[in-house]
Point group: C2
Amino acid sequence: MSVNIGLVGAGTVGGGVVKVLHNRFSYFRDELGLDIKLSRVVDKAQERFAQLPVGDAVCSSDINDILSDDSIQIVIELVGGTGFARTLVLDALKKGKHVVTANKALIAKHGPEIFEAAAASGVSVYFEASVGGGIPVIKGIRESLAGNDIYSVRTIINGTCNYILTRMTAEGLPFADVLKQAQEKGYAEADPALDIEGGDTGHKVAILASLVSGGYVEYESFPVEGITKISKDDIEFARELGYTIKLLGVIKKNNTGLDVRVHPAMLHKGHILASVSDVFNAVLLEGDAVGQILLYGRGAGELPTASAVVSDVIDVVQNIKANAPVRVPMDYYRTGRRKGIIPADQINSRYYLRFTVSDTPGVLASIANHLGEQGISIASVMQKEGTGTSGVPVIFITHCASESGVTRALSLVEKENYVRAQTQLIRIED
Amino acid sequence: MSVNIGLVGAGTVGGGVVKVLHNRFSYFRDELGLDIKLSRVVDKAQERFAQLPVGDAVCSSDINDILSDDSIQIVIELVGGTGFARTLVLDALKKGKHVVTANKALIAKHGPEIFEAAAASGVSVYFEASVGGGIPVIKGIRESLAGNDIYSVRTIINGTCNYILTRMTAEGLPFADVLKQAQEKGYAEADPALDIEGGDTGHKVAILASLVSGGYVEYESFPVEGITKISKDDIEFARELGYTIKLLGVIKKNNTGLDVRVHPAMLHKGHILASVSDVFNAVLLEGDAVGQILLYGRGAGELPTASAVVSDVIDVVQNIKANAPVRVPMDYYRTGRRKGIIPADQINSRYYLRFTVSDTPGVLASIANHLGEQGISIASVMQKEGTGTSGVPVIFITHCASESGVTRALSLVEKENYVRAQTQLIRIED
């Protein structure tokens, strides 16, 4: 007996899923003994159907065609967003259908409600494609690293930002120029805000933080900062100091709580994440048994994302075949006993601080005094020649310091009349 | 009702498994709803038990204590080797017990017999720890990348060899000196043959090749070459040419068959595998949907390997709990329709050829002629000054050429009386 699938959303990823399923049906049947059938595809844009190898699937524009078809056991949601997609997913779960989704915003924002609905109906929600495209990080954490307390995750998980920072670094171009390039090449959306302001990374980090911490971590509960304020000067100064700037998602467990944040970070050139370039993604996990594990690959795109969706479909089909509809429960996501999120001003880090000041005697000493008074120890200083009246850049690299101390020092420095522009702060990750 | 486990072999990895299970019992019970009990541990060296958090487990030296205990559903085999371990695994399977093993030689050499026995009893054999320690590559291929035809695998999968080559590169020391260092540090065995002659890598590659090709690939069916003939000169010349030397496992599918081999290879410094250093392992997979995926981590050691064993145990326990004892069948491993192995002399590659010749006129032209006559196109040549009577090194880098042509050219060159030592051949991977 075949397992019937309904697919909602035949855009880029949806189209990829239709293609990958089409390519692999015979492998699933002949080698894995799994008889899978794509029985319905729904999309408002019906002209998409003709471009895809939909086979015998019934194509239509009405989601109720899938919801009311009792023969469909798995619904693949590739609509995106948290409005229509949320209703659709909840309706499908209520009808006892398993859900596979690539929707990071939906899982990040409505995960508990969705997993609650799935548990109530005795079905599963799989979401591998929501983080890191084809990189098997969700299954990795939930299953392959089950023997570990994962105490650290550092990740480059937004291809658009990584492409922009890589190009800025390689070509010495300013942010705005490279963003325009990325838009022309299709690596950035016409409205790039969700990527470049860190929101997309934040959604993915919220999901990963929930998985490794044993309880739901709300997207709104941790600081998220994008890459829009990174200047080509910062990238050049970083390079001179031996660092590369990446948009990083950071999750660390310590005695006081859970440190979760998204922000640009300077990584030493020898750091394994520093060489993750262009649209590639990587997740660096540290577990108490396994040590460091790096998972690297294409974090987006038609076929890489489809690869993850299809692997989830196979997982659900294996579960159905084994009569084990909920094999790896998500209960802890709703009920877990995770530690509290450490407030942003209580983290400790090393810092890159770029002051823009007038070229007058005593400025360096004044800044150094302000830092010293807050207990911030200086690792290195670099002063560059300035251009005209816009001020001279002075860069301080600190040893490990508290964020609150750094914030206080910066606010005191900025009251000094030698300051010509807002100070730039970039955290350094080891 | 708890799932009872019997562990055979309480050495390094076995001890690690006891520790990891001990650390995670409450997590498995409270968060995953899995009640797991380590009920028996067997080892000939009974003094090991006192060092480990075995809890209530009954410890003894007789394997029959586990085999005859009907309450034990999972046997963890960490004895190693293909004699006692094979009998033990087959006996456990015959008694309807699931098996989790880290034994690469056993799976590589006796996989079909073992999976046959498992299928006959309706139980599973899990072997994540047999390849790449804590890196989830087996589950990755079997489950997370199920949507893909994986057409290429390149892997650095032996920590001892990678440590030796990394140290030779960093310190300019000869092979023998670094091997001695590695033995002193515990990174190489007293009898290092299985590692440095490529056998261990070969076992792991045989397993990966079987998984990605859809049929059993015998260890004896493909060429395996170790690192013992790599000189510090080769490493230095490689460096000058922009390359790093690694012991590589290579699996490639093409129209004519399956290209499987283990040998030292030169990788361009920008290659993602070139930066995998010391005892770290990495597997670079390419699938038709996902593109490139890199999985990186510690490929050996007490706790990383234990991490993989424990994740397998959890998988089996989830299967048992779901009443799905064989969730992801291994049938194809026995019955698959894989393509034939391409004979070693039919592969195509780029080559590094180091000739050692007398410093006399016409030698370069003679070698170039021999290569040209076999249709081998030369990409670059480097001649170094020689030392005394031992000859002058002349290095040729070829464009892509057939191995048979290269072999013929080398045998003709070696008949020339200007040749002072055996020619070195190292394949170049892109």
